[in-house]
Symmetry: C2
Subunit: 335 residues, 2 copies
């Protein structure tokens, strides 16, 4: 780490995290102990791009200390994120908790980080606000396949990854690495799996191809791979959030938290495509949405300029209660 980043969701109470271990991390706390940090991956989809709320020149996720006053972790999260985003959170889900030693403030201080995924609609950030919304593909360019496979994958990523695989000391390890590359990046006839965001990030990390992995070894020089990095492990947390969201939209109707109250089916499709980083088959997408009875017509039509006007739909909130998630893969006997 080079800078001394200040992380705070509430700009009124920033605190430094990688210096001066004697600084209290919880109000009123003194001496050694454990502090808890809440980190938010706040997602919106605007103009066909999936975007995340960032701070510190787009290099940090919003985060803030968990305080004794908070009723629960989730309510603490909701409270300060809603204040920050100037908008209620539609959906909040816990991502992961970690307390790795390299995040600690000192030998007798430890930070536990609890990360959350939140869905909302983008609100304009304030003038002079250090918060800004960024396309998440700024951080993971290789995850966007809507316009086809990005050229940088073949030109930059794969050569570097292959070199990493070939650099393994034993044949078995070389095989293993090559196979892992093929699986995570969908090579050798294997399908691309858009959910493997974290696995791809970790592979690039282990291969030393991204800046985060080179912080400990500055002599390695600049990382060869595109994509903006973030402080600490925030990009890793973002990867976790993207992966979770990409999995979630397949079996739970959370997309509707990200589109306006009324929308056309194409708008909805573009939103899903933005999240998944892949294009859908239009006719089948509508079939899926309609025959699952996820939406109902409003009776209005869109005022778009080109083409046949599209009907406007709204989400049928009832589906949230009238049935649970579907989907089983076990050959359960009904008799």
């Amino acid at each position: 780490m080079t800078s001394r980043p200040e992380r705070a969701l509430q700009p009124t109470s920033p605190r430094e995290i990688d210096s001066d271990p004697s600084l209290g991390t919880v109000e009123g706390a003194a001496g050694p102990g454990i502090a808890a940090d809440l980190i938010a991956v706040l997602v919106a989809v605007t103009a066909g791009e999936p975007r995340v709320l960032t701070l510190q020149d787009a290099r940090a996720l919003p985060s803030g200390p968990f305080e004794l006053a908070h009723r629960s972790l989730q309510s603490g999260m909701r409270a300060w994120v809603e204040r920050q985003a100037h908008h209620p959170l539609g959906y909040v889900e816990q991502l992961y908790t970690f307390a790795d030693r390299d995040r600690s403030l000192g030998p007798d201080q430890r930070v536990i980080s609890i990360s959350y995924l939140g869905l909302t609609r983008e609100q304009p950030t304030m003038e002079g606000d250090e918060a800004s919304w960024q396309s998440w593909y700024v951080y993971f360019p290789w995850e966007d396949r809507r316009l086809g496979v990005p050229p940088s994958i073949e030109q930059v990523l794969l050569p570097n990854l292959r070199a990493f695989a070939d650099a393994a000391p034993t044949f078995a390890l070389r095989q293993q690495r090559a196979n892992r590359i093929a699986v995570t990046f969908g090579l050798e006839g294997k399908p691309w799996n858009e959910e493997l965001v974290l696995q791809r990030y970790e592979l690039l990390y282990e291969a030393g191809l991204i800046p985060e992995a080179r912080r400990a070894n500055p002599e390695l020089g600049p990382a060869p791979v595109q994509g903006r990095s973030m402080i600490l492990d925030h990009r890793r947390i973002l990867a976790t959030g993207i992966a979770r969201l990409r999995a979630k939209i397949k079996y739970h109707p959370v997309v509707f938290e990200l589109v306006p109250d009324t929308f056309t089916l194409l708008q909805l499709q573009r939103c899903v495509e933005a999240l998944a980083g892949r294009l859908m088959h239009k006719q089948n997408f509508r079939r899926l949405v309609t025959q699952q009875e996820l939406v109902e017509e409003t009776g209005e039509v869109s005022q778009e300029t080109r083409g046949r006007p599209a009907k406007l739909f709204r989400f049928r909130r009832e589906v949230l209660t009238e049935r649970a998630i579907v989907g089983t893969k076990l050959p359960i006997s009904r008799s």
Copy 2:
């Protein structure tokens, strides 16, 4: 809460949790602050029953403080659970983190609880050990449908739940509750969904039908619903673990962590059935397992007594690397 439970995975360092807030919760810690607790849902399948490791007369899950010495949460977990279970953990997964105020030790003390799911094979517990393995259906009798719908559901659960629904003040709320009961318990033609373990528990909790919900109101008398309860919210955590595992086995080959190294397909099936609480179609189960190439023959046959001898199989560990999880539900276009 009635007793003053001692929770500790390592019997050498128990600590009291609902009394004397001045007690330090982290070694070396003093004064107000935050402490972290690790709670384990440790699962094995023995003799066709899914079992969990418990302490304190089977009323608590193993738990212990997160210590500064631990490298990470997960490694802390692994270390002390393996010591407790006298067996390496095959698979560990984080479940959930919470810090609700009603778990706090006092106004200026807060406990963050991080729960984990671990899979292993049952080892005999030590003589005089307070640890014991219990069938998880002891705590959730309504979750076992292998022998058909348990009679207690129709005889006890549903009448009480219907009374709860009818007691709602408004018509809309009555409808909503009745619908929720139907969805979670698979009534009115809706299918039983074995993954809704937590939702069912929470419904029973809200309906005031289980002891945990009545602790605050002792005048309500004994809870009418079967199933052993646990201290604090341990039964809730167990429900979370069961739900997660029931979902996981459908798309990730974790069952193999719970069966011996070599097994017959029926043994494997019985293990899955134990977890899911439902019976499988035998032929289709084999088809699923074999055509996914999850197993390979050992060449041996089982020495069981009755019926045609069954071939023994072993898990093909390669599948973990040779392909990732499958399954998509988005109409992704391949062109």
